[in-house]
Amino acid sequence: MKLNEKSVAHYATCNSPPDKTGFLFKKGERNTAYHRRWFILKGNMLFYFEERESREPIGVIVLEGCTVELCESESEEFAFAVKFDCVKARVYKMAAENQAAMESWVKALSRASFDYMRLVVKELERQLEEVQEEARSSQAKNKPKKHQPQVQGATFSLQNAAITGPSQEGVSSRENGVSWSKPTSVPNGVSEGSVWEGDFCGRGDGVKPPPVPPRRKTNGGSPESPVSPGTGCFSKLHEWYGKEVAELRIEWMQSK
């Protein structure tokens, strides 16, 4: 399999802020001794370098679909393992320098997957809708005292979210104990025919990226369903957001 290594390695060292960095001991593949390596976690990729100053990573571990467990090691204290579901998968054994570091890494790695991030986003989107709905209905009722919309908590566990396939419309439960009422889509800000600069590498001037336009329902509470990537509603999306995105971009460019 070919990976776009140069690009991926560039992602490791470009100036977008990493999610976590630090030294860890990593058990070698052939040479089973533990080697001290510098680790950089960005998104769902864990890069490791020979030294902190090294310009290129020795390797990367894609964390999608992994589980992270504490493990017993004969030689190392504070050891943990990154495991995958697939047949003959390699187990990555690592060790931290102290208890706090180990716990911190285990937490960070087990929540690093794209799938996990997507689940959290969907949940927050649902909560925001609820909050907005409460605010709308309380305004309609015109209550005399101030109404505090409550955030409804869903019972779900965010430990070690394992990939069970990307979210699909109508999925209502998952193996890891997460359950959702209605999956909804994420807003985007792409307008037709224009060039959209991905700014994941960040800019050196500290300018904030443009805000993502919020999802909106059409006026009059029509029963139109939320747009989703699978239903080809891009032209609708374009209409709804195109104007706002164009305005936002102009605003943002002018503020730079």
Partner: protein
């Protein structure tokens, strides 16, 4: 650079967000458009040779993306890819999917929702899940570090 290939191959066989046979032209000079089975799974774009099982993958962190009619242009820092779709509609669906298949895009959405909910309710929605301190969910995430 080493990478966990077996796990990526396994990932390439999971249900995709989007998959289609598209024309694809690679970044090298002299590359021509070839038919490839293209699959978008989480933030990876896998492409399979239609006659063989061989698969390549690009981690989906495009520097630039734009489209024109039914052609989708995805650029890495120095390399440009072209995808030829069957229709403008299909092209629009793909760019929509590719935009959303970005970790940073997801993160920005999360921060947006978190901030909004906090603004409207005074409560941090991540607190009840014990993840409000995670670096990756901080409101100033995604920005470059201040110059030293």
């Amino acid at each position: 650079m080493r990478f966990n290939e077996k796990e990526l191959v396994f990932l390439s066989r999971q249900p995709p967000e989007r998959a289609a046979e598209l024309g694809m032209r690679g970044p090298k000079k002299g590359d021509v458009v070839k038919r490839r089975l293209v699959k978008l799974i989480v933030n990876f774009l896998f492409y399979f040779r239609t006659d063989e099982d061989e698969v390549s993958v690009n981690q989906s962190q495009w520097h630039r993306y734009h489209y024109c009619y039914r052609y989708l242009f995805l650029d890495e820092a120095e390399r440009k890819y072209l995808f030829e779709c069957d229709s403008q509609e299909q092209c629009e669906e793909w760019i929509d999917a590719v935009v959303k298949a970005s970790y940073e895009f997801m993160r920005k959405n999360l921060i947006y929702y978190r901030t909004e909910i906090h603004r409207l309710t005074g409560k941090d929605p991540l607190e009840q899940y014990g993840i409000s301190d995670e670096t990756r969910f901080q409101v100033n995430s995604g920005l470059p570090p201040p110059p030293t």
